[in-house]
């Protein structure tokens, strides 16, 4: 499997985990669920945050929770489309 498909799948998995946890999860349990190294996770985390797929929400106790943005939801919805397109045109 090419690295590019892995990258998209991992991003999808991270976003799906956030969505499946009522769109609110802390960073540490998210790292545990994604089952990738912490360095890789931090890279994906920064990328997803910089590209506005996820956002940080700070509660009254000052704890940071992660949730999806509209763009993040859009990515989840269109993931199969993206994957299918890449496969169909062998990109």
């Amino acid at each position: 499997m090419s690295k590019k498909r892995d990258r998209l799948k991992i991003a999808y998995d991270i976003l799906k985990i956030i969505k499946d946890h009522n769109n609110s999860i802390k960073k540490t349990p998210l790292l545990r669920y994604t089952n990738i190294s912490s360095q890789s996770f931090n890279n994906y985390y920064c990328e997803l945050k910089n590209k506005s797929f996820i956002r940080e929400v700070i509660d009254k106790k000052g704890q940071i929770y992660l949730s999806l943005t509209d763009k993040g939801f859009n990515y989840l919805t269109k993931y199969n489309q993206i994957k299918g397109f890449i496969e169909e045109f062998e990109l």
Binding site: S2, K4, L8, K51, K71, N74, Y75, T77, K78, N80, Q81, I82, G84, F85, I86, E88, F89, E90, L91
Partner: protein, 231 residues
């Protein structure tokens, strides 16, 4: 008195009709290419996937290349037929532009075809544009469009050989046949620039070109429509 065949092709293909044919053909190709480019915009903006970017850029630059070819046709035909120069200031620039746009389009098409089989894909965009600029400048300065054609043919054959070595008997599939058709048809299209003597084949070649681009557009459209229905 000998009946000489018209340099423009069949009798009905007089200069005016030929000009009309060129305009309609070039616009159809450019529109199809730009439709592919814009329809895939959302996919790229969501993923920033390099393969999708290269795929889109291929058709964006093909659109520009076909439109540049049209301008060259206007420029050469107006001088020959109507004794005036259409866009005289742009005549030299046009050859530079068509060289650059077509080289970039073909480089991106090659990368679209082979990128899955190469490991290092960073800086390829920069190399693509630099190589295209250098080749088009050399072509322009030497006044030898044949150099550009030879390099483009070299690009095609190199990608074929590379891909065949990597994929062996899985070389042929529908995508690659269409992609290499786009390559070949573009090279033949270039031969029509200022080459009236092969006008007999102009219409079939143009029809095949439209069909090839249309096949890709319809595949893109079908893929995107399918997923709208799914979700």
């Amino acid at each position: 008195m000998l009946n000489r065949p018209s340099p423009f092709g069949p009798d009905w293909l007089n200069p005016i009709n030929l000009m009309l044919l060129e305009v309609i053909y070039s616009i159809i190709i450019a529109v199809i290419c730009l439709l592919i480019y814009f329809k895939t915009k959302n996919l790229y903006s969501l993923t920033k996937h390099e393969g999708i970017a290269r795929f889109r850029n291929t058709f964006f630059y093909f659109a520009l290349a076909y439109l540049s070819k049209l301008l060259i046709f206007f420029e050469s035909t107006s001088r020959l037929l109507f004794s005036f120069e259409f866009l005289p200031l742009f005549s030299s620039l046009n050859f530079l532009l068509i060289g650059y746009f077509s080289m970039v389009a073909l480089f991106y098409l090659s990368l679209t075809i082979i990128a899955r089989n190469i490991k290092e894909t960073k800086r390829l965009d920069l190399i693509t544009h630099l190589a295209a600029i250098i080749i088009s400048i050399i072509t322009f300065l030497t006044r030898s469009p044949e150099i550009s054609t030879i390099i483009q043919l070299t690009v095609i054959f190199t990608s074929i050989i590379f891909l065949f070595k990597k994929t062996k008997f899985k070389f042929f599939n529908q995508n690659r046949i269409i992609y290499y058709s786009l390559f070949t048809l573009w090279i033949v299209n270039l031969l029509f620039v200022n080459r009236f003597f092969i006008s007999t084949f102009r219409i079939p070649i143009y029809a095949l070109s439209v069909i090839a681009f249309l096949m890709i557009y319809l595949k893109v459209r079908k893929r995107l429509l399918n997923v709208k229905k799914e979700g």
